[in-house]
């Protein structure tokens, strides 16, 4: 897959939202408490990402990110990673379901080329091949 540097990479959405599976991809440094935290000691940033399952208990999610104030996310992860909100929308029939894989990564990096050409493509492939997502909601911090 190549990413155009000239055109906006627009993919049409041609399904009914109520029949669609939605994934969250967040740059807000969200991960499971049991997963390795992002490496905030590295001044260049951390290029890795974490997979988050759809049935995760939101109390088991946390933030490791030192480039924004995540006190509100520490109190309620849904302000940057709206997993419980998606569940509400699923139960109300607004969306069809939550994807098998959701992704958390740390949006801060000084390694832009590696993020753009490496991590971003890996995340896109995870979503495309492994998540069964029909659409993605992207959030930052």
């Amino acid at each position: 897959m190549t990413i155009s540097r000239k055109c906006v990479p627009f993919t049409p959405f041609e399904r009914e939202l109520s029949q669609s599976t939605i994934a969250i991809v967040s740059a807000g440094g969200v991960h499971l408490r049991t997963q390795e935290p992002f490496n905030i000691a590295d001044e260049l940033g951390d290029l890795t990402y974490r997979e988050i399952p759809p049935d995760v208990d939101s109390d088991q999610l946390m933030v490791t990110h030192h480039h924004y104030d995540h006190a509100d996310a520490d109190e309620d992860i849904n302000v940057v990673f709206p997993i419980d909100v998606l569940r509400d929308l699923e139960s109300e029939g607004v969306i069809g379901g939550i994807a098998k894989k959701n992704i958390g990564y740390m949006g801060y990096t000084m390694q832009l080329k590696a993020m753009y050409e490496g991590t971003a493509r890996e995340i896109a492939n995870e979503i495309d091949r492994g998540s069964r997502a029909d659409a993605v909601v992207l959030t930052g911090g």
């Binding site: 627009f10 939202l17 995540h70 509100d72 849904n78 302000v79 709206p82 993605v136 959030t139 930052g140």
Partner: protein, 85 residues
């Protein structure tokens, strides 16, 4: 890979615009760390997420941001600006 439709919720529209996201919602005046609103206010979080998901099937122009005001958010914050070199 045929591509996956995406919608971005950003509180830093000027910064996010540099990556030319295909669809984006800017909840006006939300501070960094509050992409979906304030903690514990599920109705607001749900409204923002519904609006974002709604952009998937609206006739938006790729690369443009949709700004929506949510008075229930309360105190407003100025988004960060891109430093011009």
């Amino acid at each position: 890979m045929k591509g996956v439709p995406t919608v971005l919720v950003t509180v830093s529209p000027e910064v996010s615009a540099q990556m030319r996201p295909p669809r984006a919602l800017y909840p006006k005046g939300f501070k960094i760390g509050n992409s979906l609103g304030r903690p514990g206010i599920r109705d607001l979080q749900k409204k923002v997420l519904r609006d974002a998901l709604g952009l998937l099937s609206q006739n938006t122009r790729p690369g443009e941001f949709v700004t929506i005001e949510y008075p229930e958010y309360g105190e407003q914050y100025e988004p960060p600006h891109v430093k011009k070199l």
